[in-house]
Amino acid sequence: MTCDRFRSRFAPSTDDAGLLAHARACESCLAVAIERDPDMLFRSLGGAELIPPGGIDLFVDDVMREVRLRTTETTMAPRPVSWTRRLAIAATIALGIVGGAAIYQYERATGTAPMIVHRVALRPVTFDSRPAVEAYDSLNATIVEVPTEGVEDVRMVMVFDDTLPADL
């Protein structure tokens, strides 16, 4: 398109691709276009297809590399286990447990079971102590007090009395 043709045909708000392309490529015609249609100021920036930094080949190579990488990752990712497969795994585990228990019971019954060390739980035992003789009064008794070696030493008293029961 020649500049003369452009200037004779250009009108504000045009959508004519040829006119827009010319205005975007020709400096003097762009000035005329902006005069007639102020929107052409920023419309002049459009239209042309742009090439990314590094060129289209490098751009496409980068995209395809990433796509192939993601495709490989998707292929290698662990696949979800189906419910039938899960059921089969659960059945195998249950069978193992039941079988093991049956063998154990059989060997125990036939006495060939291996020696088992039983663990004994230690429980605290509380002693309920009360005096064997609650009331004592005797004139025949002989009471001997063992001398202590210190203030905190236990005081020991021995009672000799024939009237007391023998198993006391």
Partner: protein, 206 residues
């Protein structure tokens, strides 16, 4: 906006399979077909990302992310609809998310930036003019919400009609027009404040 931009020269491409046909082939497990699709859509996807995000490296990363998401979600695409609409929806979603995250990180910086001419601007011609307008746009559009900016870019730079933008964003056409109106208003205020010489130019339409 410091990255160098190169315009893609128009080429006579051989007849290629329709996008939908290509998608069906990819769904059959053909990775080469996906590569063909990426190659076909890279320029437009990158351009949209760049215009929304405003940074070449970030736009490249986001565009690559879009294609990876495309690969992972291609089974969700309904071939009854236009492939580009579906693709654009993915681009805008990812780009808007990125801008929101970036905004929360940076919390609206650049408030006092002003266009500074560099040595590269000493060159003459359309490239310099575009670069300068790009910088102006980058600054004044920083006040827009991610959605407003996306709509503005799709309407003014990608030349998409409002009806198509509504389909891409999954909203009503009136919502698109409303966002566009507000975007222009905000940008006009920014232009007057920071670039009065450009505000004079742009005033007519806003």
């Amino acid at each position: 906006m410091g990255a160098e931009l190169r315009l893609m020269a128009p080429v006579n491409e051989p007849v290629q399979p329709d996008d939908r046909l290509l998608v069906e082939t990819i769904r059959g497990g053909d990775a080469d077909a996906f590569e063909q699709l990426v190659r076909r859509k890279t320029s437009r996807v990158y351009a949209l990302c760049y215009r929304i995000i405003g940074n070449a490296e970030d736009a490249k990363d986001i565009a690559q992310l879009v294609f990876i998401k495309l690969w992972e979600n291609l089974h969700k695409y309904d071939t009854a609809y236009a492939f580009d609409t579906w693709l654009y929806r993915m681009v805008t979603n990812v780009a808007i998310d990125f801008i929101r995250n970036r905004q929360s990180r940076e919390n609206a910086v650049n408030s006092s930036l002003r266009l500074v001419k560099t040595t590269a601007d000493a060159e003459q011609g359309v490239a310099v003019q575009r670069k300068e307008i790009e910088t102006v746009f980058d600054h004044v559009s920083s006040v827009l919400s991610p959605k407003q900016k996306t709509i503005f870019v799709m309407k003014e730079m990608e030349d998409l009609p409002s009806s198509e933008i509504a389909k891409v964003l999954g909203c009503r056409e009136s919502t698109v027009r409303n966002h566009l109106f507000n975007a222009r208003k905000l940008m006009q205020a920014q232009l007057e404040k920071r670039y009065p010489e450009y505000a004079q130019l742009w005033r007519g339409r806003s």
